[in-house]
């Protein structure tokens, strides 16, 4: 009965519905293999244990009131067997799963970047070329894409079932996922972390396009400014350059060539200048003071949106060392 109920579901369900969403990214294949292997292990142990229970239930049922079962002694070899085999399976699964996990959490260096900001209850996405989308994401097929994800209010989660990726959008933090789409087509994305009343409305579509179509789509956009250029405009608008002089003699440090370097702080710590570092410098500057610079920068929290912060970061990133001379004012 128990075996029937459990094993009966799989074929019935497989007949009724597709068992998995389409596998449309390079990550999906590895995930599905591990998934199928675990399913096989599960079916094996389910059949083994349920079979044993069922067999014992029939074989050892009491037939009369005064039957006395024979005594069983503790059986060390048997107990060691069912300790060691699950332990080995556990270690093996960990090794396999970890390799997959490492691969899936490390975006390739060549990835194109797209920035995702969740808010109640919609998704704002920006491409480095400056194109912005709401609840839609256009990407080229066959190119690794890294999504940098954050939120401006509560926690959300960006989830694309067909690509087998998902990550929380946490306010005040940047998290990331990457994927490389393998099939042209449209796929759903969802908010998967409960975020309030209209959680179930935070859904949209990923459009995977051929590279030519993608280029055409970018070109068709009315937007002509890249994210870095939009950031540069903000930089001027808020008059950041008044203090952040390029030659380093201003009241604030020069920003040119700093991205990706390690920065020594006033409190003696060293920190990598990454997206999170720059965001913190803008939103809460006094928490990240540099030696020899006074704590004079005001916070821009609430004046600049999360999307604008990302544009400023793009701008700072674009300030390579070679621009040090050309960009001076």
């Amino acid at each position: 009965m128990m075996v029937l109920i459990q094993s009966g579901f799989y074929p019935v369900a497989a007949w009724m519905i597709p068992l998995q969403p389409p596998a449309a990214s390079t990550i999906a294949q590895g995930v599905d293999q591990l998934y199928l292997f675990l399913t096989a292990i599960s079916v094996f142990f389910t059949v083994l244990i349920f079979g044993a229970i069922f067999y014992f239930m029939v074989k050892y049922r009491r037939r009369s009131e005064d039957e006395i079962p024979p005594a069983t002694k503790d059986n060390l070899p048997l107990e060691l067997t069912w300790t060691i085999i699950p332990s080995l399976i556990c270690v093996g699964l960990f090794a396999w799963g970890s390799m997959l996990y490492v691969h899936n959490s490390r975006p390739p260096k060549s990835s194109m970047e797209i920035f995702v900001v969740g808010k109640q209850w919609m998704w704002h996405l920006q491409h480095t070329e400056g194109v912005r989308e709401i609840d839609e994401l256009h990407v080229p097929v066959g190119v690794p894409v890294k999504l940098t994800i954050t939120s401006e209010d509560v926690i959300h989660d960006f989830y694309i079932p067909a690509f087998r990726v998902k990550k929380d959008a946490v306010p005040g933090r940047y998290s990331s996922i990457w994927f490389q789409a393998t099939e042209v087509g449209t796929y759903h994305f969802y908010c998967a972390q409960y975020c309030g009343t209209n959680h179930s409305q935070m859904i949209g579509w990923v459009y995977v396009m051929s590279p030519n179509d993608y280029t055409a789509w970018l070109a068709a956009s009315e937007n002509t400014e890249s994210m870095a250029q939009q950031g540069a405009r903000l930089f001027d608008q808020y008059n950041c350059g008044a203090c952040h002089l390029d030659n380093g003699t201003g009241r604030g440090p020069s920003l040119a060539g700093t991205f990706g370097k390690t920065q020594k702080l006033q409190n003696g710590e060293s920190r990598l200048v990454d997206d999170a570092y720059i965001r913190q410098s803008i939103v809460n500057p006094n928490s990240i003071l540099l030696p020899n610079y006074p704590p004079v920068m005001p916070t821009y929290q609430g004046q600049i949106s999360e999307e604008q912060v990302l544009q400023l970061i793009a701008y700072v990133k674009s300030l390579g060392a070679e621009e040090r001379t050309t960009n001076g004012k």
Partner: protein, 585 residues
């Protein structure tokens, strides 16, 4: 161990008057029954809430009588989600197996006349009841019930009514109720631990304790450590909401176009604190069930528990490892990917003591003479559900797979089978097993078996299809699936689940009827109707107020001496002195 000398044992009569005797009673058996009845009311409410949810998922536009407006709004659905989870986890799964049966049978099984701190113990129940009333009242306040989910992740739960209608007073009351519940649980846990350590009858060595007592003891330690952390986290969340602190709210949060006046908090801090409670909570719900199942399988196979010592160690190992795996709830939270390795390995490691337990249960019934009582059927059902739910846990322990399955119906299916269904089967097994001792009458076995088979089939019919919904990508806590057209092929599956839920829910009426019918008309129970070995069966059914009528039982042997070769009967009670070999003269 210290032993209470039998001369100092209380032989006091039960207090006179209905209030002191049945309501504000310090007697552990009364407190146990009170907890049991509280859980019964809570589970009835919880089931009704879940049926309303299932109804809404399948027929979102249907008119529901007694509902203001007639058609369920997202807020109302989300309040159901939140309250169903909270009521079931806290007021059913934490109270019935541990505080209910533990209170009643822990002193009886160790041969103690009373709990170590009877007044604390009574306070523990009344605190829990107050928490329950506050929780239910949260439904009725302006703005409606809380809608943060039972995990109450900030910033959503910390920002107040700006982030949603139920996030105002309703959410505040939710936190206050949980805080009271934590305090009450801590009082109970202290009582359990002290009683187990200090109040055992002479001869009741640790390795002679029934596995039920071991489970309650380890669970009490888990409660002590886990609920104290949840209490602290709850207080911090309350301060964020009402005192303007920023423990969990970061800088620059803009909700509804308004900048929130908070800075420096971390939403992930709550998740760490909550899951440091939340994961052990799974074991708080299920360890007592494991103890009961070991006990019942042994009793009705007429066989000693296979590998008793290993079972004790496995219980302790599961309890300990349970505190080291909270991060597997946070693989996708954006915490450092490196910590994922540790949490994944430790989570997989819990599979080992769990596998040992499962195989030892098989070893226990192997070669036995199995009696298919209702209690035995529910114990076997528990093993089945424990295996099913445990195996799906292997998938979720993999960060790479959790990236796909997290926050989908797969997780809903997994934890309902392992935490809800398995634990409930443990509770039912305990109820059918101990009802004769508690109320002096037998439950009707025919109704019991009908109840078992419908519930067992129902458990799988409801929760197996949810795995497929989750694999397909259906996210949980969605008030409305109509915007997701690619999930449309799953609609028949959802219908099936809803119908199964209604049938299974209705089947519980059989149990309720059986319970109250047998209270009045059930066959009278003898002292030891199941031919059991442990001490609770050596006293009257129901036991007198001081449990053993003024004498303190002495213990001479382990808890599971069934079918000992050469013994006159197939069980030897723990208090039977060893037969001295007659010297050949």
């Amino acid at each position: 161990m210290s032993v209470i000398p039998s001369s100092s044992q209380s032989v006091s009569e039960a207090p006179k008057g209905i209030v002191r005797r049945y309501i504000f009673s310090t007697n552990h058996k009364v407190v146990g029954v009170q907890y049991f009845l509280l859980a019964l009311i809570a589970v009835a409410i919880g089931i009704v809430l879940s049926l309303l949810m299932r109804f809404h998922v399948v027929w979102p536009g249907a008119h529901i009588p007694f509902l203001s407006g007639g058609i369920m709004t997202p807020e109302q659905y989300l309040a159901l989600v939140t309250m169903h989870g909270t009521i079931m986890v806290f007021f059913v799964l934490t109270t019935a197996p541990q505080a209910g049966f533990g209170n009643y049978f822990l002193p009886l099984q160790i041969g103690a006349p009373e709990m170590a701190f009877p007044r604390l113990n009574m306070l523990s129940f009344w605190g829990t009841l107050v928490a329950f009333v506050v929780m239910l009242a949260a439904f009725l306040v302006p703005g409606g019930g809380p809608i943060s989910g039972w995990t109450a992740y900030p910033p959503l739960s910390a920002l107040g009514s700006i982030s949603g209608p139920g996030e105002g007073l309703g959410q505040t009351m939710w936190i206050i109720s949980i805080a009271i519940f934590c305090v009450a649980s801590l009082l109970g846990a202290v009582t359990f631990i002290a009683t187990t350590i200090d109040m055992r009858a002479p001869g009741m060595k640790l390795m002679r304790l029934p596995l039920t007592v071991w489970s309650w003891f380890v669970t009490a330690i888990l409660i002590l450590m886990a609920f104290s952390v949840l209490l602290a986290a709850g207080v911090l969340l309350l301060l964020d909401r009402s005192a303007g602190t920023s423990f969990f709210i970061p800088a620059g949060v803009v909700v509804n176009s308004q900048l929130q006046n908070h800075s420096g908090g971390s939403p992930l801090l709550w998740q760490h604190l909550f899951w440091f409670f939340g994961h052990p909570e799974v074991y708080i719900a299920i360890l007592p069930g494991m103890g009961v199942v070991s006990h019942v399988l042994s009793n009705f196979s007429r066989k000693p528990v296979f590998g008793y010592r290993v079972m004790v160690f496995a219980t302790c190992a599961i309890g300990f490892l349970g505190f080291t795996v909270w991060g597997h709830h946070m693989f996708i939270s954006g915490m450092s990917p490196y910590s994922g390795f540790a949490f994944s390995l430790l989570t997989l490691a819990i599979g080992v003591p769990s596998a040992i337990k499962t195989f030892n249960w098989l070893g226990t019934i192997w070669g036995g003479k199995i009696q298919f009582t209702t209690a035995m059927l529910f114990a076997l059902g528990f093993v089945s559900l424990f295996v099913t739910g445990g195996l799906s846990g292997l998938f979720l322990a993999q960060p790479a797979l959790d990236m796909v399955l997290h926050a989908t119906y797969y997780v809903v299916a997994h934890f309902h089978i392992i935490m809800a269904m398995a634990a409930i089967f443990g509770i039912f097994s305990a109820t059918y097993f101990w009802f004769p001792k508690m109320f002096g009458r037998m439950l009707n076995e025919r109704m019991g078996k009908l109840h078992f088979w419908v519930t067992f089939a129902g458990a799988y019919c409801i929760f197996m299809p949810m795995h497929f919904l989750g694999i397909e990508g259906a996210p949980r806590r969605y008030a409305d699936f109509t915007g997701v057209n690619y999930l449309e092929p799953l609609a028949p599956l959802n219908h099936f689940v809803t119908i199964a839920a209604f049938v299974t829910g209705a089947a519980q009426l059989i149990f309720i009827f059986n319970f109250f019918w047998s209270l009045k008309y059930g066959r009278r129970a003898s002292r030891n109707p199941w031919n059991s070995t442990t001490l609770e069966w050596t006293t009257d059914s129901p036991p007198p107020p001081d449990n053993f009528g003024g004498r303190s039982p002495e213990v001479y042997r382990g808890a599971y001496e069934f079918s000992v070769p050469g013994a006159p009967e197939d069980f030897i009670p723990q208090n039977l002195p060893p037969v001295k070999a007659v010297p050949a003269s």
